[in-house]
């Protein structure tokens, strides 16, 4: 089914092969076609109760291009429009909350909806199913962006054994490669020398930190809570252990995983261009 549709699309797109009769039958490549193809190839059965559904726009819309992003902010949508891309695949919500609930009479909500309508955009969330893929695409993508792939420990996408580096130098490197602004926060002495890294992007719960930190030198986390993983990391350092704990922020830690998502989609979708649009580090701090 998938192959024949792709073949059909290729044939239909080739003027020399497509006679007038075939051309008349041509059906557009729609957002629903992309969704169907992803659901068929994601590698797990699709969870009907998940939040991964179309958040804005019509599934029947003809797709001009696909953009993946960690968070479908207005900046991301505007860049998609500029690049003539109308199907946006996002990991995080579009409308300012887990449920993407309507905000009647809110001006920012209404402006965003208007912009989406006027530009014929379709926005689809893939958060639950992309996170559930094996091997963990968020850790794999983060490692790839950081240039650590060759240092992976065994077949664990979360663990990397790096040439020794100080916490300070590691953090500078993370900030540069992820184009961070003020989102990165760190526990630990910048002079501490490190080798074993454990990646815990996204939301980093206490149990994951308590499991990872004793067995490595530094955890690179996403979003944490100050009375949970942060205090555990502080106590680890106070107990005299030469370790570090880096928080990238939720979105910044997930961006590379959505760059990986774009590459995966390229292997499934050949009808339209697919690319990644970074949402960027949302945070700055006063000079």
């Amino acid at each position: 089914m998938e192959l024949s549709r792709r073949l059909f699309a290729r044939l239909a797109g080739t003027a020399a092969l497509a006679g007038p009769a075939l051309r008349g039958k041509q059906t557009p490549f729609t957002a629903q076609d992309v969704v169907d193809r992803v659901q068929k190839n994601i590698g797990s059965s699709w969870l009907p109760e998940s939040l991964d559904n179309i958040k804005a726009g019509a599934a029947s819309t003809a797709v001009t291009g696909i953009a993946t992003t960690a968070m479908a902010t207005m900046d991301v949508l505007a860049r998609a429009v500029k690049e003539k891309t109308n199907f946006v695949v996002t990991l995080e919500p579009v409308f300012f909350g887990r449920l993407d609930a309507p905000l009647a009479s809110d001006p920012v909500y209404n402006d965003k909806q208007d912009y989406i309508r006027k530009n014929n955009l379709v926005i689809w969330r893939i958060g639950d199913h992309w996170r559930a893929r094996k091997p963990d695409p968020l850790a794999t993508g983060l490692a790839r962006t950081l240039g650590w792939t060759e240092h992976q420990v065994a077949d664990d996408p979360a663990r990397y054994d790096l040439p020794p580096i100080t916490l300070g130098a590691l953090v500078d490197d993370l900030a540069t490669r992820l184009h961070a602004r003020a989102g990165i926060r760190v526990v630990g002495d910048p002079q501490t020398s490190l080798r074993r890294v454990h990646l815990l992007p996204g939301v980093t719960p206490l149990d994951a930190t308590v499991k990872a930190l004793p067995a490595c030198d530094v955890v690179v986390a996403g979003e944490t809570r100050e009375w949970e993983s942060v205090e555990y990391a502080q106590d680890t350092v106070a107990a005299g252990q030469k370790k570090g704990f880096v928080m990238l922020g939720h979105v910044l830690s997930e961006e590379p995983g959505m760059s990986l998502c774009a590459d995966w989609l390229k292997s499934l979708v050949t009808e339209v261009p697919v690319h990644w649009i970074p949402a960027g580090d949302p945070y700055w701090r006063p000079a």
Partner: protein, 262 residues
């Protein structure tokens, strides 16, 4: 005077009934019958804080936030953890006692944690009912406002969302794990920490998108410790009014983070 005596005196002076069902405001470490040499109030009983308190001759720590890394200080599953063992051993060797004072200090009239934050921000709330945490001020820019708060509260790892040039003249502030929801009628929201994305309401994405449409909003994330540590100084001041037998000091847990140069 024992640690338990101090707690009983707090209950008596609180001015509100004690909630016996609280899982937060209980002893976390040590024997409540330990004789108290000195009291430290703090934002969070980190190992570093407990070590510094001990060095200062204090053996009773009154902490606002947890000791063992979760709201319920759940230690099941942690007993073999090397950091847990180190912390518990240090406390046992030095007869340290830790008690949490969270729900009831917030319930005290006025909420002493809030009093501390408002004092640290240096702002006067709008008068009138339901106005707690609501502020108006002469028009400034988000950038200048954030810079003034960072200077005044001496914050290393503040995070701000929004256009630094946005003109703002109102704010809603929260403390701890709470940043008020940004609405069309409030320019800036300020608080301790919050889920960044995928929460009940994501201020961060809202403010980013508001900025795209030229609407003047901002989100200033102080840090949980930054927002609640000042109130534990007010706690120490309040304790001194009815505990006079031993020295009481406010010892900062301190901002946990540093941040690389942007």
């Amino acid at each position: 005077m024992t640690a338990n005596d101090v707690v009983e005196r707090i209950k008596k002076n609180l001015g509100i009934p004690w909630n016996e069902k609280t899982y937060r405001d209980t002893f976390k470490v040590g024997d409540p019958q330990t004789e108290v040499k000195g009291i430290a109030t703090t934002f969070m009983a980190t190992l570093d804080l407990i070590q510094r308190a001990h060095a200062a001759g204090v053996n009773f720590v009154i902490t606002h936030e947890p000791t063992f890394w979760s709201d319920r200080d759940t230690v099941a599953g942690l007993t073999d953890d090397p950091i847990y063992k180190f912390k518990v051993d240090f406390c046992a060797r030095n007869q340290m006692v830790v008690w949490r004072f969270h729900d009831h200090i917030h319930a005290h009239q006025p909420d002493l944690i809030w009093v501390g934050l408002a004092r640290a921000l240096g702002w006067q709330e709008r008068p009138g009912p339901g106005s707690r945490g609501q502020f108006t001020f002469p028009q400034t820019t988000l950038g200048e406002l954030a810079a003034a708060i960072a200077r005044r509260m001496n914050i290393r790892a503040m995070r701000v969302v929004g256009d630094p040039k946005a003109k703002v003249s109102s704010a809603a502030a929260g403390m701890g794990y709470n940043i008020p929801r940004v609405t069309p009628s409030v320019d800036v929201v300020i608080g301790g920490e919050n889920p960044e994305a995928g929460g009940q309401f994501d201020d961060t994405e809202y403010v980013l998108d508001a900025a795209f449409f030229g609407r003047n909003h901002g989100q200033i994330i102080l840090g949980h410790q930054v927002s609640e540590e000042p109130g534990m100084e007010d706690c120490a001041t309040w304790l001194r009014t009815f505990v006079t037998e031993v020295p009481i000091r406010w010892i900062r847990a301190g901002e946990p983070f540093w941040s690389p140069k942007a």
